[in-house]
C-alpha cells in the first residue's frame, strides 16, 4: 500500500501521517505552495480503500464516510472525489454504460486520475507502481 501523488505536486521525499490524515479528512485543502489538493478515493467497500484507512490512517472506512457526510451536508466542506463515481458518470454520459462496469473502482483508474490531475493525491497497492505517478513513503 503506497500513497500516490501527481508528479508535479510540490511535496518532499515523504509525507507525515498526520498530514495525510488532515488531507483525507478534507481539512487541509492546499499544498505548501498554495496548489489546491485534489483528493481521490476508491469506493468505501473497495478492499484497497479499507486497507488504506485502517493500516495507513488507523481509522475505519465508515468513520471517514461519516466525517465527509458531515462536511457536505452541513456546508462546511467538500467530499473527496470517488474514482468510481466520476468514471461511472462520465461513461454513462458517453453512453458506454457497459464499459463503466469494467472500470468502476479500479486502481488503474485511480492511477490515471492522479497522474492526470494537478495537485492530486490518492493511494494504490504496490503492484500498481509505475512512472506516471510519484509514490510517497509515509513517515
Amino acid at each position: 500500500m503506497v500513497v500516490a501523488v501527481n508528479p508535479a505536486t510540490p511535496v518532499g521525499e515523504a509525507i507525515a501521517r498526520n498530514t495525510l490524515s488532515a488531507i483525507f479528512g478534507m481539512r487541509l485543502c492546499a499544498w505548501e505552495d498554495g496548489t489546491p489538493i485534489r483528493v481521490f478515493v476508491l469506493p468505501d467497500n473497495h478492499a484497497v480503500h479499507g486497507m488504506f484507512c485502517k493500516q495507513i490512517l488507523g481509522v475505519f472506512p465508515h468513520q471517514y464516510r461519516a466525517a465527509w457526510d458531515r462536511l457536505v451536508y452541513s456546508g462546511t466542506g467538500q467530499a473527496p472525489l470517488e474514482v468510481a463515481s466520476e468514471e461511472e458518470m462520465h461513461a454513462r454520459l458517453a453512453g458506454t454504460r457497459g464499459e463503466a462496469r469494467v472500470v468502476v473502482g479500479s486502481e488503474e483508474e485511480m492511477r490515471a486520475r492522479v497522474a492526470g490531475t494537478s495537485g492530486a493525491i490518492g493511494y494504490l497497492s504496490r503492484k500498481m507502481i509505475d512512472e506516471s505517478v510519484t509514490f510517497l513513503p509515509v513517515q
Binding site: 481509522v59 468513520q63 466525517a67 457526510d69 467538500q78
Partner: protein, 309 residues
C-alpha cells in the same frame, strides 16, 4: 455517482412527545436513500439525498394516518451545492423539501447558505469563520439530522432531537467561528457564534408557546457553541453543546385577547459521547434544558423550569 441502497426494519421507535403514544409497531423500510454526488467542474460539487419512510402503527398516528394501512407521509429530499474557488474559501447552499405529517408539507425551504473562510490551515490546526445561514452545531447529529444515511436510527432520539423543536434547532442566520487543534493526545474542535434562530413559523411558536397565538415571535441575538474532543483515531468522541436562545413575543391584540409581551429564554446544555468500533458505534447523549418564560401575563405561561433527558 455515489448511490447507496439500504432498507431498515424496526419494530419500535419513539414517537414525538406531542403525539399520544402507546406500544406501537413501527415499520419503516427506510425506503432506500440513494445519495447523489458529482463534481460539475473543478471545485464545484453537487450532492443530494432522498429518503421515503413508511410507518405502520397501532393505537396512535405518527406522521399521518399510520394506523390504517400505514403512512408514507414522511419524505426528505435535499440538494446542495458547494463551490471552493480557492482552498481557503467555500460557498455552500442547501435546499430541503420535507413532508412529515402535519408539521411539514414538502414546501422547499432554504436550509443553509454560507460563506466559509479558513484563515489558518495546517495539518494540526484550522481556524476560520462562517457567515450566513449556518447549521447549528448541536449534539452529534444536528448538523446532518435530515440526511437518513447519517443517522444511526430511523428517527433520531426524540429526547434530544425533538421533531417539535426542529425548526428552532436546525439552522439560523449568523456568524460561526471555528477552531480545531490536533495533537498526539487527541483533537479539540470548537464552534461558537452569535445567531438568529428561525422563529417566524408556526412550528416554533408551538414549540415555545405550546399554541398558535395571534402575535408573532421575534428572534433576538442568541449564542450557540460546541466543544468536541476526540481521541487521535476518533474511536472516542466527547462533546458538550451550550445554547442561549432568546425570543420575544410581540402580541397583536390587547390583553386579555392575546398573551402579554413575554420573553422566552431557553438555555439547553447537551453532553454527548460516542465510541466507534469497526462495525458498530455506541452513542449516548444527555440534555439539561432550563426554560424561563416571563411577561406573558397568563397563568401558567410564566415559569422557570428545568427539563432533563
Amino acid at each position: 455517482m455515489r448511490a447507496s441502497l439500504s432498507c431498515r426494519f424496526s419494530r419500535s421507535a419513539r414517537a414525538p412527545q406531542y403525539l399520544p403514544w402507546w406500544p406501537a409497531l413501527v415499520l419503516w423500510p427506510g425506503l432506500c436513500h440513494p445519495a447523489l454526488a458529482f463534481e460539475v467542474f473543478e471545485g464545484f460539487q453537487v450532492h443530494g439525498f432522498l429518503s421515503q419512510g413508511y410507518f405502520l402503527t397501532t393505537n396512535n398516528n405518527l406522521f399521518g394516518s399510520s394506523e390504517r394501512g400505514g403512512s408514507l407521509d414522511f419524505t426528505e429530499i435535499g440538494i446542495n451545492a458547494s463551490w471552493a474557488p480557492r482552498p481557503n474559501l467555500q460557498l455552500a447552499v442547501q435546499f430541503l423539501s420535507r413532508r412529515a405529517g402535519e408539521a411539514a408539507e414538502g414546501e422547499p425551504e432554504f436550509d443553509f447558505g454560507l460563506l466559509d473562510y479558513t484563515a489558518v490551515a495546517t495539518e494540526d490546526r484550522r481556524i476560520g469563520v462562517r457567515f450566513g445561514r449556518v447549521r447549528f452545531p448541536f449534539g452529534l447529529y444536528n448538523d446532518t439530522r435530515d440526511v437518513a444515511f447519517t443517522r444511526p436510527s430511523i428517527l433520531l432520539p426524540q429526547s434530544i432531537y425533538n421533531e417539535r423543536t426542529r425548526e428552532l434547532a436546525i439552522s439560523g442566520d449568523g456568524i460561526m467561528l471555528y477552531g480545531e487543534e490536533r495533537s498526539t493526545w487527541g483533537n479539540l474542535a470548537l464552534e461558537l457564534g452569535p445567531v438568529l434562530a428561525r422563529v417566524d413559523n408556526e412550528n416554533s411558536e408551538l414549540a415555545l408557546l405550546f399554541g398558535d397565538f395571534p402575535g408573532d415571535l421575534e428572534n433576538r441575538w442568541s449564542f450557540i457553541g460546541r466543544l468536541m474532543y476526540s481521541t487521535p483515531r476518533e474511536a472516542l468522541r466527547l462533546a458538550v453543546t451550550g445554547v442561549r436562545l432568546e425570543t420575544d413575543y410581540n402580541p397583536r391584540l390587547a390583553f386579555p385577547d392575546d398573551l402579554g409581551p413575554g420573553k422566552d429564554l431557553f438555555e439547553p446544555v447537551i453532553f454527548s459521547a460516542q465510541y466507534n468500533a469497526e462495525s458498530w458505534s455506541l452513542t449516548g447523549e444527555y440534555a439539561r434544558r432550563p426554560i424561563k418564560h416571563e411577561g406573558f401575563l397568563v397563568l401558567g405561561f410564566d415559569f422557570d423550569i428545568v427539563g432533563e433527558s
